[in-house]
């Protein structure tokens, strides 16, 4: 009796709810997306994190830069796939003999996405706002970090004709032209600032092949084709940069055809795609370096002999093979291969020789007693996809030469605090190059002015007058041969004192569907989707 009553009541109560519930699932199943991809008019790119802000002058994360790479352009650019300078929004440029004046002739007929024509006056805005502290668009809370680091020699910028722009330098700087090709010098429309004020950091207006449409934070940035583009037309009506934090899910979405390309995969995750003809894996050595630094404040490790012994003990080839599945290259020098100043055909400064290392270290019995602190971090970075594994490989190498090692692992920001204070014995860290110039690496690692506690990029806190002088000279030299000599000397001082051990240069990895054509990886690791299009197989 009771059972019947309960059943009755149950059905009565639940019927409404069950209908709603079923509805969710039926509706859910009803509009499946077709897996076969017909030529889409929207290109969707998947990546691990969202952009932070879209102001070229105040960013340093790859996601923000890669978004802006579709929207904005500079006076000059790196010729696709190389580090050669190519005039871009400037038709041509001239450099005065003393290396102090750079003049750019702008291209005619270029318009910003808001219709503002490109001329000397409108181009000036981008540089003035970074240079001039009292400029209304010199936002009080923006860092303008690159202006200080890459463009510090620029004294004035002015328009000397309707279409010509002149940069005056306080002293010659050979890398300034390269710096002008990097993202902090990409042009944005001054009218955008007039109408949107500080909100331009969320809605960039440039001259590029795609224009900004909408930004759903942590989900997607939506761009559309710039119909008025001066160069060759973009291949898609829309371009979407989707944020999918989890690597596995991102890969799933690629396989399901919901995104057409992705980056940020670990080398090991590529094995799933190896034999799949539907996808193309683009890979190329990146302009980056992952290194192991000795802190100058660690008294035990001050002697160059000990540092050399530790360097000899580490099997960097094993790191490349085991931790990166071969998607990296052993770093011989603290600059990426092919950079100016890299010694050619000479004996590598660090050779793996645990036997010799053991012999040297045996002379320091005290060093072998207490474990050495090796600081590392947990989340992947472009130069170290798995820093923990790299740390444990180094530990086993060092234990092999009788050293005791304690790994201390923290989240990236906490690790950065320790590193920038020099508060460690050994620490793993890396650097991604900005402008393809050796100064961008060597001054970052070895200049005494980069060794300020709390904000140091010279985390070894290495201070050497000769090194400083060479770095300053290198900056001012315009003759390539002489610069090369200067940087070779700087590298010799590095090899003598060994404040850091270069470990690896990782390769960039981008996977696209095979139908995507025209994509090329860049040395700067910027992703340019302007030239890509869809070619049905």
């Amino acid at each position: 009796m009771n059972t019947v009553l309960y059943l009755n009541a149950y059905l009565r109560c639940m019927s409404g709810f069950i209908i709603i519930f079923l509805q969710i699932f039926i509706l859910g199943g009803c509009s499946q997306i077709d897996e076969s991809v017909s030529p889409p008019n929207t290109f969707v790119f998947g990546r691990g994190s969202d952009a932070q802000k879209l102001d070229p002058a105040d960013i340093d994360d790859g996601e923000s830069v890669n978004t802006l790479a579709q929207i904005c352009e500079g006076l000059v650019r790196f010729k696709s796939g190389t580090l050669d300078i190519q005039p871009w929004l400037a038709r041509s440029y001239t450099i005065s003999k003393d290396g102090l004046t750079y003049t750019f002739e702008l291209r005619e007929g270029v318009r910003f996405h808001d219709g503002t024509p490109l001329n000397a006056e409108t181009a000036l805005f981008t540089f003035k706002r970074q240079l001039d502290n009292s400029h209304p668009a010199h936002f009080s809370k923006a860092s303008f970090q690159y202006w200080k680091n890459l463009f510090q020699e620029i004294k004035t910028v002015r328009a000397i004709g309707p279409m010509s722009l002149e940069f005056k330098l306080s002293e010659p700087n050979a890398s300034i032209l390269y710096s002008l090709a990097t993202f902090p010098a990409w042009l944005i429309s001054p009218m955008a600032f007039e109408s949107h004020g500080e909100a331009i950091v969320r809605r960039p207006i440039g001259t590029g092949p795609y224009r900004f449409l909408d930004w759903k934070p942590n989900q997607a940035i939506i761009l559309e084709k710039n119909q008025d583009y001066w160069g060759s037309e973009a291949g898609f009506e829309r371009l979407i940069m989707r944020t999918i934090p989890d690597n596995t899910l991102r890969l799933l979405e690629l396989k399901a055809g919901k995104i057409h390309a992705l980056d940020g995969l670990q080398p090991a995750e590529l094995t799933e795609l190896d034999d799949n003809r539907k996808f193309t894996i683009h890979t190329q050595p990146g302009m980056n370096i992952g290194y192991l630094a000795f802190s100058s404040y660690a008294k035990r490790l001050r002697s160059p002999a000990i540092r050399h012994a530790i360097a000899m003990a580490i099997d960097r080839k094993a790191i490349v093979d085991l931790a990166l599945d071969g998607f990296a290259k052993v770093a011989e020098y603290p600059i990426p291969p092919g950079f100016l100043g890299e010694p050619i055909n000479s004996r590598p400064p660090i050779i793996h020789d645990p036997e010799a290392a053991r012999k040297i270290l045996n002379k320091y019995p005290k060093l072998l007693e207490q474990p050495i602190e090796l600081h590392t971090f947990t989340a992947p970075r472009p130069y170290f996809p798995d820093p923990l594994i790299i740390a444990s490989l180094i530990r086993s190498d060092l234990e092999n030469v009788n050293l005791k090692v304690e790994i201390i692992s923290r989240d990236f920001k906490s690790h950065l605090i320790t590193a920038r204070q020099g508060n460690f014995e050994l620490a793993l860290l890396g650097w991604s190059g900005d402008n393809g110039d050796p100064d961008n690496f060597l001054a970052t690692f070895f200049a005494s002015w980069a060794a300020v506690a709390g904000s140091a990029t010279n985390i070894s806190f290495y201070k050497n007058k000769d090194m400083d002088n060479l770095l300053i000279t290198g900056r001012q030299q315009t003759d390539l041969k002489q610069r090369q000599k200067t940087y070779r000397q700087a590298l010799m001082i590095w090899a003598r004192d060994l404040p850091l051990i270069p470990l690896i240069h990782t390769k960039q990895i981008v996977v696209t569907r095979s139908e995507v054509t025209g994509f090329q990886l860049q040395k700067t690791a910027n992703l340019f989707f302007g030239p890509i299009s869809w070619q049905s197989l």
Partner: protein, 346 residues
């Protein structure tokens, strides 16, 4: 009768006052704890966000943000500006924290509310069904399913849902909140609302599709809670007597169930959901991570990892206050539904 009502109202008012004082206490303690914690974390959030910080510029930005003022001054400024709704700007994105929260908050609320709703229905359904089919086998199965919701970690469960629902069946997307190749309905930020308001059933359909897996995953926890509470209620033999009495009074079945019994059962359900709302939010954070859901949970976790000062300070405080308000409201509601509860529990 009137006297009794006045008395009831008085008790209710006192209860409200009690909650009000608690709210102020919670606010003070929470703000102090958050502020101290944020200031105890070593390192400077301004320079940490930069790849290549310049000490003079960093110092200028710190002054601009008021980070060089004495700590008590900073604390009072923090509390006052929180109350005024002036929550500063994110150090990372440069956007107003209030605007950011207004984009992430609807996503979390949409997820949590629908999951809560579904959870209660599931829990109620399972418990009622065990009452209908008095088979021990079904009963045990149902309640072990309930235990599943309480014990299995969401990140595993979520992943299983993705594997089954997305990878094998291909019915649902594996993550995210919307398909951005379609036009996004604009408005309140609640996509169900917005797509209905725009009159676009196809977009509503897509919204549902994206909601289904995370909602189902998150709903198992409240479902299990409801199951456990109702199980004990149904075990009470007096319930049968009550139903029989009401039936003898000549009331219709729907009246008995939908008004009397549901009301009787709703008080403990509301209390248990209310008091466990914190855990539900916690589950929402995990669910958001698994399903790439752009909500408050992921936003705050990223803020903590990035040392995004004002987001941590104001976002966390807001969540704490909200959680407290929800728990208190649930308490008061349960109290209204059944004023004897307090004396019983005392």
């Amino acid at each position: 009768m009137i006297v009794a009502n006045v008395h009831k109202f008085k008790v209710f008012l006192i209860e409200c006052l009690h909650k009000g004082i608690m709210l102020i206490l919670v606010f003070v303690i929470a703000s102090v704890v958050i502020f101290t914690a944020v200031n105890l974390i070593p390192g400077d959030p301004v320079s940490l966000r930069l790849k290549n910080p310049d000490p003079t510029r960093v110092a200028a930005i710190r002054t601009e943000l008021g980070l060089n003022k004495p700590l008590p001054h900073q604390y009072f400024y923090y509390v006052i500006s929180f109350v005024q709704g002036n929550w500063g700007k994110s150090l990372i994105t440069g956007q107003k924290v209030r605007e950011e929260i207004s984009t992430y908050f609807p996503a979390t609320i949409e997820l949590a509310l629908i999951a809560l709703f579904l959870g209660v229905i599931l829990g109620l359904g399972v418990t009622l069904s065990t009452q209908c089919f008095k088979s021990t086998l079904w009963r045990n199965t149902a309640f072990s399913l309930g235990a599943l919701g309480l014990t299995v970690p969401i990140f595993w469960l979520g992943f299983m849902f993705i594997v089954i629902g997305s990878l094998w069946l291909g019915w649902f997307p594996s993550g995210g909140r919307f398909d951005f190749t379609l036009p996004v309905p604009q408005g309140s930020g609640f996509l169900i609302f917005d797509s209905l308001a725009a009159g676009r059933l196809d977009l509503l359909c897509v919204t549902y599709q994206y909601l289904a897996l995370p909602v189902f995953c998150l709903s198992l926890y409240p479902a299990a809670l409801v199951c456990n509470v109702l199980k004990t209620r149904f075990a009470d033999p007096r319930l049968d007597t009550l139903i029989r009495a009401l039936r003898a009074k000549g009331l219709s079945e729907s009246r008995i169930w939908l008004i009397h019994i549901l009301r009787l059962l709703s008080a403990p359900v509301i209390t248990v959901i209310g008091t466990n709302f914190g855990t539900l939010l916690c589950g929402a954070v995990l669910t958001e991570s698994v399903f790439s859901w752009p909500g408050m949970g992921r936003y705050l976790i990223e803020a903590v990892l990035n040392r995004d000062l004002f987001v941590i300070e104001n976002g966390l405080l807001l969540i704490i206050i909200l959680a407290f308000l929800i728990i208190s409201t649930a308490d008061l509601l349960a109290f209204r539904l059944n004023p004897t509860m307090k004396s019983l529990s005392d």
